[in-house]
Amino acid sequence: MQSADHGPGFPAYRMTASFDRFRWMGSALAGLVFVFLLAPYAALIFATDWHDFHLSEGDVDAIRTSLLYSTLALVISVLAGTPLAWWLAREHGRGKWVFDALLMLPLLTPPLAIGILLSSFYGPYSPVGSLFSHVGVYLTNTPPAFVLAQIYAGMPYFIIAARAAFEGVPRELEQISRTLGRNRFQTFWRVTLPLARIGLSAGVALSWVRVMGEFGIVLIVAYFPEGIPVKLWVNLEDIGLSAVYPLLWVFFLVAVPLPLWIGLRARRQTQAMF
């Protein structure tokens, strides 16, 4: 091994060697974490009985319920959450920190607890619940209750991601748009939204995953109609593990492509823009 006395090339050699060693260790560590995260999914491959792969009774209905109502919940979350996220990103008035802190509450509350809170607030014996029931909307064990539960599961995540996305849009570009003759709405549509789209896409993907996979809130508020997460639980209780895996595979098949597609698309667009 060369020492410091052996010529001017030594420092560069030493730096390269230590850098290589560090890079090797970093790669190994990253690989370990990767294996740790994905190992249970390998178990799923081995545990599935591929010779007798079939869905159980009611699984198709659960898939349909999850897809339909999750899409609805996602659309409502995005439409209602976007203005709030924009307001949070753009307003810097006194006391805004209170809103920021309160927004964290749904994220910090355990899903089961949110379910109980929703039952107390929207349940048939609460003032709000009875108000809804007067117009024929019942918010316990009904499709509206299911969608409501999913909105509470997904919307806070969308708002947090969307707010960060809007904050990332330089205000100067919005101002320039105004000086170029575009009003606030046109500016939002043509400048803010396209520039925030990568962050918004991440918010949609995150919200979709939360909405599709929500179990705790749905379990309390809308056990019926059964979506995929509740049906997984029912299959496990009534039939056993063998009935869980096929539905789980279907869940991955329907829930994962959207965030995956959004993530890859966002990555490509980011590279193209910068």
């Binding site: 330089p170 100067e172 570009l173 101002q175 105004r178 000086t179 400048v191 823009m273 910068f274």
Partner: protein
């Protein structure tokens, strides 16, 4: 000055974020000079309607209705739109929107780069795309915020010349704010902003020749200031000014009686060496000693100590010939017409 240049009188009173109260004639290419933090950018934003202020004209209109083109520092091109889409942004949706945008790009010489994204353009190219975009609305006033700040030194002068030529071609009054006196030299009209007010306004030739006070003179590039008193006059053509241990002749100015305290301002580049063995006279001779010297590109900046501290900028050829070193004694001269009297 270009007498036929389009003109507009602007008044602006603003309280926040900085107090500004100005009344300014924008004539052709007008440069408002001010130090950093003087409120130049805020003033432009207020005129454009992006900051609350009382502005005349157009002050009653919403931002999007003001016929004003605004180019901020860094140009603020939309990164998600191609060059032609940026230019087409203010244009109404129509069949010839694309063609119109390309025509504007052609006017600034960038039609070949129409399909590039801003990240694929140089600083000068971005500036021209932003200019074409600002002009697409056919504004009646164009505002430029520090147009030289994002340009590299290699292409700065070239891009500036083109910019001035292009905005002049469009025939609308332009107000550029800057701290760069070189930009003001290219202007049809200029003003100096200090403490939220216009302290001097006029033709660049006049303003550069007669800065109103020391602060204005500093902003205009003067580096040497000497305090003295009027000691005499010569046939209404020159004034004699004396300080402690020095005496200088300056250009005539009316209304200065004997004994009046004045400041003299001299540019570093207007001080020159008396050639060795030269027989012609050396106006305003000063004997000085070199205390320090610094290479400044191809020139040499000398810090001199004599009757007062002085700075001089020696051209490359003279610096090479003279072989000046720290500690050398020199005799330097200044033409009386280059000595400005500031009251």
């Amino acid at each position: 000055m270009n007498q036929s240049a389009p003109a507009l009188h602007i008044r602006c009173q603003m309280q926040q974020p900085i107090v500004v109260d100005i009344s300014l004639q924008v004539r052709g290419f007008t440069v408002l000079l001010g130090v950093s933090g003087a409120g130049k950018s805020s003033l432009l934003k207020a005129i454009a309607g992006l900051l609350p202020a009382q502005v005349s004209p157009y002050g009653d209109s919403a931002v999007e209705q003001r016929p004003i083109g605004y180019l901020p520092q860094g140009y603020a091109l939309f990164p998600h739109l191609r060059a032609w889409e940026n230019v087409a942004f203010p244009l109404p949706r129509s069949a010839h929107r694309h063609t119109d945008a390309l025509a504007l790009l052609q006017r600034v010489g960038l039609e070949d780069l129409a399909n590039r994204f801003p990240s694929e353009l140089s600083g000068g190219q971005k500036q021209r795309v932003a200019l074409a975009r600002a002009l697409a609305r056919k504004p009646q006033l164009l505002l430029l915020d520090e147009p030289t700040s994002a340009l590299d030194m290699a292409t700065r002068d070239e891009v500036l010349d083109e910019l001035v030529r292009e905005v002049c071609e469009f025939g609308i009054p332009v107000l550029a704010v800057s701290h760069d006196p070189h930009l003001a030299m290219l202007a049809d009209h200029m003003a100096i902003l200090r403490d939220g007010r216009i302290v001097q306004e006029g033709d660049p030739g006049e303003v550069f020749a007669r800065p109103r006070d020391v602060a204005a003179a500093r902003l205009l590039g003067f580096r040497n200031f000497l305090s003295g008193q009027i000691a005499g006059s010569e046939h209404n053509s020159r004034l004699q000014v004396a300080g402690s241990g020095w005496q200088m002749q300056a250009g005539w100015q009316p209304g200065l009686s004997l004994g009046t305290s004045v400041q003299l301002a001299v540019r570093a580049e207007d001080i020159y060496l008396q050639e060795t063995g030269a027989t012609h006279c050396c106006p305003n001779p000063l004997s000085v000693q070199v205390k320090a010297c610094r290479k400044e590109g191809l020139s040499m900046r000398l810090y001199l100590e004599g009757p007062t501290l002085l700075e001089m900028l020696l051209p490359r050829q003279q610096a090479e010939d003279a072989q000046i070193a720290v500690g050398d004694f020199l005799k330097v001269c200044v033409q009386p017409r280059h000595v400005q009297i500031i009251r």
